[in-house]
Symmetry: D2
Subunit: 156 residues, 4 copies
C-alpha cells in the first residue's frame, strides 16, 4: 500500500480544512495517509512516504514560514526523495492575491528534491487555491487533485 | 507633461476593456496617454515614453505570444528604458488560472529593462487580474493602479 | 517504443546544440526521438508523443516568442496531453540572467497541459541552463536530464 | 538623510559578506545604513526606513525560513511601507540553482507591501546572485545595485 503525507500550516482553519478534504479523498482512493501539521511532522519519517501533499496559506505571495522551515529542514534527506510524487494547495484572502505563486513555490521546492509533479487541466492549474473558506468550487478542485495524485503515486 | 504607453493584446475584448479603463484613468490624472494594441506599436517610439502599462490575457500562465514578440523586439532599446515606470494587468477565464504569474512575467521583462515597478496594497498585489469580463472589483483595482502609477511616473 | 519530441528555438546556435545533445542522449536510451525547431513542428502531430523536451534561449526572463507561439497554438489540444512527460532547458548570456525562470515558465505551460515533470537533484534543478556555448558542465547536466526523463517516460 | 535597512540571513558567511559590501557602498553614497541579521531586527523600527535591502541564501529555490519569518512578521505594518524602496540579493552553491527565484521571491513580498523596486541592466537582472564566495563579478554587481538603489531612495 502506497503511503502519503498530507501536511499543512493553518492559522484561520481554511488550509487545515482543505488538508482534511484531501486526506479523506486519498484514503478513499486506497492510500495510507498521514495527516499532520508541519510543526508536528517527524522529519526522520519522511523517506517512508511515496508522496507529499503540502499546503500553506498565502503569506506575502509564498508559503508561510513554518512551511518553509519544514522544507529547509528536509535538506537532511536531500536526494532521498528523488522520484517521489508531490502536490500543493493554498488558501488566501482575496482573488489576485497570488495563490498560484504559493502553490508553485511549494512545487519548486519538491522539484529541487527530485520529486515528480503533475498539472491539473480541470482545476487550479498547479493545485487548488481557496479564496476564503473552502467552498463548492474547492470541493471540485480537491476531487480533481485527489484523483490525479492518487493515480500518479500508483504509477511511479 | 509625462507620456505613457498603454498597450495590450486582446482576443475576447476583456483585456482591451481593461486597457481602455486604465488609459482613461491616466488621462484624468493629467498624463499624455497613447493606447495601442501591441501589434500596432511603433517600436522606434518607445524611448519617448516615461512609463509603460502592458496587458495580456493569461495564455498558459504567461503573456500571449504577440505580447512576448513586442517584448523581445524591444531588446533594440535595451538600457534605454532604464529608470522608467512599468505596470501590468491581465484577464483570465477562471480563478486559480495563474493570472498573477502573467502580471509578474510582464513586470519581470520590464525589470530586465531597468524599469521601476510598484506593488499595490489594496488591489491584485502586482496588478489587476480580471476573471472574465471586467466587473466592479476590477473597476476598483484599476482605480488603485491608476493612482499609484500616475504618482510613480510623476516622481521618477 | 515511446516517442518524444525535442523542440527548440535558437538564434545563436547554443540552444540548438543543447537540443541535439538531448536528442542524441534520448535515442541512446532507446526512445524514438523527433528533433525539430518550434517553427517546423506540425502541431497536429503533438498528441502522438509520450513526452516533450522544450528549449528556448532566455529572452527577458522567459521563453522567446516563437516558443510561446508554439505553446499558445498547442491550446488546440488542451486536455489531450494530460499525463504525458515534459522537460525544459535554456541557454543565456550571463550568470544571474534568470535562466531558471525560463525553464520554469516552459514547465508551467506544460503543467497547465496536465503534463508530469520531474526535478533534478544533480543538475540545474529544473533543467539545464547553459551560460553561453554549452560546456562540460552542460554535458553532465544533459546526461542527468536524459537519464531522468527517459526513465519518467517509461514509467508513465 | 535617507535611512536604509540592510538585513540578511547567513550560515556560511557568503550572504553576510554581500550584505556588508552593500551596506558599505550605501554609506559611501551618503545614506544612513543599519546592517542587521534578520533575527536581530526590531520589527517596530521598520517604518522608520526609506528603503530595504534584503538578502538570503538560496534554500530550495526561495528565501531561507528565518527571512520568511521576518517577512511574515512584517505584516504588522502592512500598508505602512507603501512607496518605500526595496531590493534583494542572494548567494547559492551552484549555477542553475535558481538564485534569481530567491531574489524575485523577496521582491514579490516587498511589492505586496506596496514597495517600489527597480531592475538592473548591467548586473543580475533582479539583484546580485553570488555563486559561492562573493568574487570580483559580485563586486561589480553590488556596485551597480548600490548606485541604482541609492538613486531610487533619493528620488522617492
Amino acid at each position: 500500500m502506497k503511503k502519503v503525507l498530507v501536511t499543512y500550516y493553518s492559522r484561520t482553519g481554511n488550509t487545515a480544512e482543505m488538508a482534511r478534504m484531501i486526506a479523506d479523498g486519498l484514503v478513499d482512493k486506497g492510500l495510507e495517509v498521514i495527516l499532520k501539521r508541519v510543526e508536528e511532522v517527524n522529519m526522520d519519517s519522511i523517506t517512508e512516504f511515496d508522496g507529499f501533499v503540502v499546503g500553506s496559506p498565502n503569506y506575502f505571495g509564498t508559503m508561510a514560514w513554518p512551511v518553509k522551515k519544514f522544507v529547509d529542514e528536509s535538506v537532511k534527506f536531500f536526494k532521498k526523495l528523488d522520484g517521489k510524487a508531490a502536490a500543493a494547495f493554498t488558501s488566501e484572502g482575496m482573488i489576485g492575491g497570488g495563490g498560484d505563486l504559493v502553490v508553485l513555490d511549494i512545487l519548486k521546492a519538491f522539484l529541487i528534491h527530485g520529486c515528480v509533479v503533475q498539472g491539473l487541466t480541470s482545476a487550479g492549474h498547479f493545485g487548488p487555491v481557496a479564496v476564503g473558506k473552502p467552498d463548492e468550487r474547492i470541493g471540485k478542485e480537491v476531487a480533481v487533485l485527489v484523483e490525479k495524485f492518487a493515480a500518479l503515486v500508483e504509477r511511479l
